[in-house]
């Protein structure tokens, strides 16, 4: 597939850029933050992907039109919110897709593949984000919620059904992400308390909450008791009043004695109950006083401090940290749950591996390319001789230029296999190849490698550097002045 042009309209501003079939550069000539990453993301957003926007721009309000060429046919792909339309330029064909549910169907059509898992994993090969992209090797997040999985791809290539296992693994991956997020909140809590010097407040706050809850139970019990006593007092008083009202007399040794409360045996019970009620009410009063004091202390412990009131940024940051600090996290429990999720993921990966590996020639094909490319990029001794290496989880210690080169080698290896096996010519967009630790020597090595190996693929590089610093001649240069969406001179 070749992207021939991209057009984006935001309010009354429209940008239009054509792209070459091979080497394209989106640059800002050494100026940062003018929209190179935004434009890069918009390219894929325009193709229906749920790409998160960069700051200060709402992708949902942008009208996108992309002209693509697939199998020598030009199509217009228009995205307007959740509606994605693909139409032949000659208008002989048109189809609409509702996003996000039907996006995969669109991709299958676009790249002419009949396997969902292949279509779903293409972005992981086509796009290297300036941040996330340089940490993704063979599985993980591409950008936003979009994932890449070599397991899915390879299984699909060989027509092996592992969907059940992929689904379960996704569930655990999401859980693991949530646990990591919660543990991060706990770290923020600790940092917050360290900054404010209120480490003891953390335990005070927990203690206060427990004490308040316990007192509330005692108050409720006390109220129930009082209510019961009051009901009995009312009933007994009615009873004695009945005797008085009835003017009942008894005959004792010829003497007629009028019955009243004072001469009824055990009538003292009423005085007893009234005294009991007084005591219960005193107890209740004390409990309410205690809980009121504790609530005051709790309020103080959870009050947002008004530091640097003129500095809104600091205020907001403090408020956010304070709000996060109030989240109740059982670190031990979360860590255990996270470990359980990791263990489950490991076991599922093993199952996937076993199913995938059986009679699967694509593993070796990808590995062979990877091995060759790794050697060309000077990192041959970083990869294992085992073909299973393409599934490796062992990314510890892999950072810097060598890891960047490994990522490039891996992606190109898979792209080549897809090209050969399925005739897929997926473009490759690299955002900021020099943003990590690639020096000039390695930049030249990598850029020329990509240019040569993917000579039949469209390559788009977004960089603040001009082509001199990237050591290859680009066929098309898009120069951004201020914004991703602006009228540009061509």
């Amino acid at each position: 597939m070749i992207i021939k042009s991209v057009s984006f309209t935001e309010n009354n501003t429209k940008s239009f850029d054509t792209l070459d079939s091979h080497l394209n550069l989106i640059t800002s000539n050494s100026v940062n933050s003018v929209g190179k990453s935004t434009l890069s993301r918009l390219i894929f957003y325009g193709l229906g992907y749920p790409i998160p926007p960069t700051e200060d721009i709402n992708f949902k309000k942008i009208y996108c039109e992309t002209i693509i060429n697939q199998n020598n046919t030009d199509y217009s792909v228009v995205r307007d919110g959740t509606k994605l339309t693909i139409e032949k330029i000659d208008k002989s064909f048109k189809k609409e897709y509702l996003l996000p549910d039907e996006h995969n169907s669109f991709l299958m059509f676009l790249f002419n593949v009949d396997k969902e898992n292949i279509a779903r994993n293409l972005l992981g090969l086509m796009y290297i984000d300036q941040e996330k992209g340089w940490t993704l090797l063979n599985r993980g997040k591409v950008i936003g919620s979009i994932r890449f999985s070599i397991d899915e791809l390879v299984a699909s290539l060989n027509n092996v059904d592992c969907d059940d296992l992929f689904y379960r693994r996704d569930v655990y991956e999401n859980e693991k992400d949530k646990y990591n997020a919660l543990l991060s909140i706990d770290t923020i809590k600790e940092e917050y308390y360290n900054e404010t010097g209120n480490l003891s407040l953390l335990s005070d706050y927990e203690y206060l909450k427990r004490e308040i809850a316990s007192l509330q139970i005692s108050i409720n019990d006390k109220k129930k008791e009082i209510k019961e006593v009051e009901e009995i007092i009312a009933n007994d008083e009615k009873l004695f009043q009945f005797f008085v009202d009835m003017n009942v007399h008894i005959n004792v040794n010829g003497e007629s004695i009028k019955i009243n409360k004072n001469n009824i045996e055990c009538s003292y019970n009423l005085d007893y109950l009234k005294a009991r009620k007084t005591i219960l009410e005193s107890d209740l009063y004390l409990l309410k006083k205690q809980i009121s004091n504790l609530r005051e202390d709790y309020q103080k412990a959870t009050n947002v401090p008004d530091l640097f009131s003129n500095n809104k940024t600091v205020d907001n940051e403090m408020k956010i940290n304070k709000a996060l600090s109030l989240v109740d996290i059982d670190v031990e429990q979360i860590s255990t749950a996270k470990d359980d999720a990791k263990k489950a993921i490991s076991e599922i990966n093993l199952s996937i591996r076993e199913r995938t590996k059986q009679n699967n020639p694509y593993i070796k094909k990808i590995y062979d390319y990877l091995y060759e490319y790794a050697n060309r990029l000077g990192i041959g001794n970083y990869i294992s001789k085992n073909t299973d290496y393409i599934f490796t989880n062992n990314l510890k210690g892999k950072t810097g230029a060598n890891f960047q080169k490994l990522i490039i080698a891996f992606k190109v290896a898979v792209i080549k296999v897809l090209e050969e096996e399925l005739n897929i010519y997926a473009p490759l967009l690299i955002d900021s190849p020099k943003s990590k630790e690639l020096d000039d020597t390695n930049t030249e090595l990598v850029m020329n490698f990509i240019k040569d190996e993917l000579k039949d693929h469209q390559i788009i590089v977004a960089s603040i550097h001009n082509q001199d610093k990237l050591f290859i001649q680009f066929d098309k240069i898009i120069e951004i002045k201020e914004f991703a969406i602006e009228e540009r001179q061509h």
Binding site: D221, K224, E225, E228, V229, I232, N235, D236, L239, E265, C266, S267, Y268, N269, L270, D271, Y272, L273, K274, A275, R276, T278, I279, S282
Partner: protein, 374 residues
């Protein structure tokens, strides 16, 4: 030093603003404690008690006469200002016109409120019995009279002058011989507050042991609870104000509170069964909260049924409430519970326990009434 009397204020006392907060708190604490001390001492005879009364710190109503008491305290053990405080007390006592039967008392925490030591410790003594102190008291009274005289001469306001003359007349009529004096010893500001009220607690304990007839494992618990409850009755919100609205408390109110407290007696479970309980049953009973169970409050009908059945039974020698409960609990189980419990063991224990508590309460009430307290 002469004492300036401001006849407009309710209390002719040293300006409280001169004292620090802890002294005020201590003083009020002593006043309440003195009231409780006198209440327990005169419990059989009094009808009502007032703290921070209209005229005096403590007023005990005996029906046919009233005992007016002035309470003075010193935070740290010493004899500082004892005579000044005595003179202030006299001045306060002189605010009222006494009836013939009425009595006056000076109560403090001085070991020797005037000169002699050891005569007044936790008892009430008539001043005429202590000769040297009587002499000093008369001299101090004369000093106050002289001060009043001077003030009267200097006072220009006619109304105030008349009031001062009235006070002087009352003071002259106040008999030092008949003056009652008492000291609560010890009552000092120490860290362990339970020691400060030790005297009171001892008196309450004696009341519970001797007059109500309770002397068991939980007696100390009853003593503390009674003290705290009575203390709160006199000093409701726990805060100290220079002028507190006076509160009249009927004796019966306080005595019934005591009876409620001691009715929460411990029931010896072993005495409720013919056989020893196994661990499982013991644990089950231990874990059930009987006191907050709805239905644990005794109604008149239940009480009268239980007591009327028990009275002829109790005439049998050695028949205790526990034995009665053990033998006859089934007579009352439906009436008490109406089938609320599903567990038979808990039901049986609940009913027996309830019966014992009702009967013990009945006995306590009987002791209190027979002992002349109520």
């Amino acid at each position: 030093m002469s004492i300036k009397i401001d006849v407009e204020t309710k209390q002719y006392d040293i300006d409280l603003a001169e004292k620090d907060a802890s002294a005020v708190i201590f003083g009020f604490d002593f006043q309440v404690s003195a009231a409780l001390f006198l209440f327990v001492k005169y419990i059989k005879k009094i009808r009502k008690i007032v703290v921070e009364g209209k005229y005096q710190d403590i007023e005990l109503d005996f029906g046919d006469h009233t005992l007016y008491a002035q309470a003075k305290s010193i935070q740290v053990v010493s004899n500082n200002k004892r005579h000044e405080k005595f003179k202030e007390a006299l001045l306060s006592l002189a605010k009222i016109r006494l009836n013939e039967q009425d009595k006056c008392m000076y109560i403090s925490n001085y070991e020797s409120p005037l000169k002699e030591k050891g005569y007044y410790d936790n008892v009430v003594a008539k001043l005429k019995m202590i000769e040297d102190d009587l002499t000093i008291a008369n001299k101090l009274k004369q000093d106050v009279v002289n001060d009043l005289e001077e003030q009267i001469n200097n006072e220009t306001d006619k109304g105030k002058k008349e009031k001062l003359k009235l006070v002087k007349r009352n003071l002259n009529n106040l008999s030092m011989e008949e003056l009652l004096i008492s000291s609560i010893i010890p009552f000092v500001d120490i860290e362990d507050k339970s020691d400060k009220h030790k005297v009171l607690l001892t008196h309450i304990k004696k009341l519970i042991n001797e007059d109500i007839g309770i002397n068991d494992y939980d007696t100390d618990k009853y003593v503390n609870q009674t003290f705290q409850k009575w203390y709160m009755s006199f000093h409701e919100d726990g805060s100290v104000k220079p002028e507190v609205v006076f509160k009249t408390i009927e004796k019966s109110e306080l005595v019934w509170e005591l009876l409620v407290i001691v009715s929460d007696c411990k029931v010896d479970v072993d005495k409720l069964y013919d056989h020893p309980l196994d661990d499982e049953l013991t644990s089950k009973l231990k874990n059930f909260n009987f006191d907050t169970f709805v239905g644990a409050t005794p109604r008149f009908k239940m009480v009268t049924n239980i007591v009327s059945e028990y009275i002829p039974y109790s005439r049998v020698v050695g028949a205790s409430p526990e034995q009665f409960a053990k033998q006859y609990w089934k007579l009352f189980d439906n009436e008490l519970l109406g089938g609320v419990f599903e567990d038979d063991d808990i039901k049986e224990y609940f009913v027996k326990r309830f019966i014992v508590k009702v009967l013990r309460n009945h006995m306590n009430v009987g002791n209190v009434m027979n002992g002349g307290i109520l």
